[in-house]
Symmetry: D2
């Protein structure tokens, strides 16, 4: 019995503050604002600490949607899961992907499993819980809750888990220390990696990809990873927001999702496998592709298939910018289009130097 449908719309943007494409869809009636569950975006900042294009984009979207939802801009930000990834290096093209969920009657015209999305969130964390067991364990529960929300029972049907997670700030660190608690790191930047890593391990545990993960292994044991987790840390929340994407018989969506794992940054075979897992062979890509979601990083051992790379020693360009540009070039070559979601920072998301890649396509 199909109970709902999922719509996925990719919208090109002209700048981080450009909401015209989304508003056109809303004002024309093509997209009901109340149905929007999540927005994943690529913005043209540097993707680093001082990338303000992410919060600018979210601010613009909240101000634009607020009157249509009859709530304030801050309430929009609480209601919809916004995940903005900065950095459109090389051929990558700034865009938004809007995920909307509507109820649906099964009219019998849809067969097989279809794209389904579920959302859940953890309780708020204390600063000292980030990057540690509490964050791992609560993430496990939230992934299970989001799977339930998506109508997905089998972990094999989960193909992408996007998580927004918190980071520590100097104020939060001080508050923790005042209580006699010690956060895993006092550095805001450093805590982002811990939070992303612990969240990814939570996904891996929830889906049975690994048997166990202790907090000592976070950012240490790179053999532990999830093949479908994509996590990003943000200053605006103290809990994890979990978005599970997979295929389900309860969905009447016209779309499918599949995935693969790139073992390194030049793993063309894995990119092809991801496209094929969503039913896309060479000829069909242009007609049926909706979007690609991938994580990229500079291999921490300084080499790709034994050839030295220079991403980690470049004092002019951060390694995440290098990695997005290169992996973006490869994926865009297969996708035939640069408006793909390639995000940097892949701790415990795929093997070291590699990362997960998911593809959504018209069935």
């Amino acid at each position: 019995m199909r109970t709902h449908s999922v719509e996925v719309i990719r919208i090109a943007t002209k700048s981080p503050g450009d909401v015209s494409g989304l508003m056109q869809l809303v004002e024309s009636g093509r997209l009901a604002p109340a149905s929007i569950l999540a927005v994943l975006g690529k913005t043209e900042g540097n993707g680093g600490v001082n990338d303000f294009t992410r919060e600018y984009a979210v601010s613009a979207l909240c101000h634009a949607l607020a009157p249509h939802l009859g709530i304030t801009p801050p309430a929009v930000e609480e209601r919809i899961a916004f995940v903005m990834s900065g950095g459109t290096e090389g051929v990558l093209s700034p865009h938004l992907t809007v995920f909307a969920r509507t109820s649906a009657n099964d009219n019998g015209t849809v067969d097989g499993k279809r794209l389904s999305i579920g959302i859940a969130q953890t309780r708020d964390f204390l600063p000292e819980e980030l990057g540690r067991s509490a964050q791992i364990d609560e993430t496990v529960k939230a992934v299970h809750a989001a799977m339930l929300d998506a109508g997905i029972a089998d972990p094999q049907d989960v193909h992408f888990v996007q998580i927004k997670c918190p980071l520590v700030t100097s104020e939060r660190v001080e508050a923790a220390l005042a209580r006699g608690a010690k956060p895993v790191t006092a550095s805001a930047y450093g805590s982002m990696g811990y939070s992303r890593g612990a969240s990814a391990l939570g996904v891996a545990l929830a889906l049975g990809e690994i048997k166990s993960a202790s907090e000592e292994q976070v950012l240490k044991d790179w053999g532990l990873f999830s093949s479908v987790a994509s996590t990003s840390a943000g200053i605006e929340l103290m809990h994890n927001v979990v978005i599970v994407m997979g295929n389900s018989v309860s969905s009447a969506s016209p779309y499918l999702i599949g995935h693969a794992v790139m073992r390194d940054a030049i793993d063309l075979a894995a990119v092809r496998a991801a496209f094929e897992s969503a039913g896309l062979t060479d000829g069909a890509v242009q007609d049926k592709l909706v979007n690609v979601f991938a994580k990229a990083e500079a291999s921490p051992d300084g080499a790709v298939r034994a050839f030295r790379h220079t991403m980690l020693e470049d004092s002019d360009i951060g390694s995440t910018r290098h990695a997005r540009a290169a992996v973006g070039g490869l994926i865009a070559g297969v996708a035939g289009c640069g408006a793909v979601y390639v995000s940097g920072g892949a701790e415990h998301q795929g093997p070291a130097g590699g990362g997960p890649i998911a593809v959504i396509a018209r069935a």
Copy 2:
């Protein structure tokens, strides 16, 4: 009757000044220094105006080879054609490709056309001739001379033409003005584009790729281009050095060369075609690939297949760095290796936003 052979060796480097790999080959007797015709290298600078890794690498090579050749370092620089391309963004890996030519007796074991290389140079140019008809016309003659040197008669057998060309400096501009002559631009940086563009048009004319090219069309009419030219400007010379690479029955080389043209920066089909033109299908790449030579640039119209790119508006990272990273990622994906020669700045070298790509492989 095969009269010579061409050896091509790719050597990974640990830094711009690292000559240890080359010296090991020389000292072990594997490579006769006197046979070295040309060295094409990728160095880990920014590829921009203040990239000193190129001249540092050439200086290190000249100092290292001089005692083996019994000449001074400056004489080495005149004898061997060094072409260093700065910028190993993303997965690109610093390396040298050494081209050596030896005489050979045809022992009958080789069949078909094989890799052959020829070199020629133009007369010295006056500063005001750069980017203008004189440079175009003299390049035509030099390409023909280099083809003759390579034993290649049919333009169809030419697959890559690497040119080093001059640029103007403020001193050269002043000298010209004092004679009442006016260079095409007074900007050193700007003159590099003109010199590269005119040289590429000379290649296109020499090979019959275009029927005519006037100096008014340089950097204006992007419909005119060569599919095999790769040109780079350097301050150290006032003439063009032309290196023609192709296949010839006069060569007993164990290698073949082929090429294709990328119509844009994500033209995966063209990359594959280039590999296939050198006899490489998917399975054979790892065993037989020697190296790839390609030019990359940010599409000047600001879009790749109708999707906006941000390379030209990024005030933090130059567009050539973006382009090399993205195209390098794509080519490395097919090559299975980041030690490929991807160079930026492709005026009249392939269509706007695209560029030529040549592949050398073991036959």
Copy 3:
């Protein structure tokens, strides 16, 4: 007869979207929103083409002030002159300077000329008028109108003229060409310099600093410049907004303004002279300084007092970032504080390589 007063408040910001400091002043009643004439800000972007912190800051301010002014955010942007300068390199510190004007009765306690501000604007320009005589001439008129608005009759009393001016976009260029008109350049980036330069020459003419300026001299004859002009181009308007700052007997403001001209980027004597012109000697700076407004640029001849600088050849960091960092370091040293307004791009604003510097201090 003193008819009005001018308040100037410098507010530190925590990020480009931080309006908390300004809102605190508004909500505490210390600052009447309706009295705000202009806001000049330094934001922590790169100051280049892809610096979105400027528009983000303006957007945040408009959204925050709109309910207090009872108008829409776009109406706030039309009512208040927002000038955001991106780039807080080195010790420069992000902040806003709010200028407010209130009517005042002369209670006789104020003597001498005091800080006064006037605003005016030109008619809308056609794209082909930018950088040309029309823009110069209309700017002259607007400067005179703004002086009148400020109650300043003598050009000697004008110490800083901030201008916001338009630029061309590809759409605007196409529209012009369709009418048979040809803009001075088709490049958006290039048109910014032309628009800034023509506007600065308009200031110089209006104040009698130069006798004449033809459109052929824009960006050519660097001997023509204004010692008090500070111009910046923005995409959001098609006319010039002119803010004149000077001293006037009609103002009861507690502040004074003075200025000097830096002849190059290391002109410490000029910085000191500017402080002294506002009544600030070494001992008084800390107590009385309100803010400093200066323009900086890399000397176009590649040298500062005969010593080569490398700002123009650095392909990793734009020359405007270098210049702001260096001049900001010098001015902050004298000011004892990094929250000073140092802006890049000084065409016809001060001599080549130098720039105007104005100081506002408590009388």
Copy 4:
């Protein structure tokens, strides 16, 4: 009894490989190559991990001087202390400062203490000794030896101590671990800070600036620092080279040296004090200044005199580049010239956010 003299010559360079200025002095007989003790240079790289302009400059100098000294280039590098600091941001101008020492008979025309230089070196360190007590203790001894060499008995007469110190590499770390020893950090980049910091503490101890320093305080207790130490780490050596500069009655040099300590990056008063300590008042700077030597860094607490700076959060430009640009702008303003030696990375060299500044001037 004056036994020797010290010559100091500042030479502008046209590029990192430019040795023409130095060679002109050598070939004209103005400078005896055998008298050269040390060369401190500013090169136009990024000053970061991938700044190859430093080793390129040293390589060029060694190749140029070798025939004049009758030794090989590597032997030149062992004989002369080369300290290259990358990064000429803002108005900083690339140059070399050559220090030469000759014997001299006291002809009675010189009075007072004059510039003297002494050099010494420690034993080689094991990788695990870097950043620890052994490095601190051995540096103390070497500073004392260099003072003796310089003929300086009173620590008050020491005004600048330049140190070159080692760093760990992955090979060195592995070798240490194989012996059961654990280096203070496994990161090459990280070890540079430890090595610089321990070396600076050694200077502070040797000169009695602090009473004690344990290895636990390295990079932790920022209250411990030297006011005259300037240390830089390089991969090419395993011992510390110590260059002590001060004033001595045994020197007949025409120069004097003085110093001060900048307490933060905008400490103009300290810059002036340093100039005055070398006998330079405003009027005399242009005639008598030889060069300035200073260290700069971004204040680790994120603020300069309570105003937030953005140097540590800029993912596009490294904080050392920001700091050099700003401090260089300030010092150049006082010096009237950008060819000053401002170097980044000031662990335990001056207070946090500040740094030592020494001035050499004609007596």
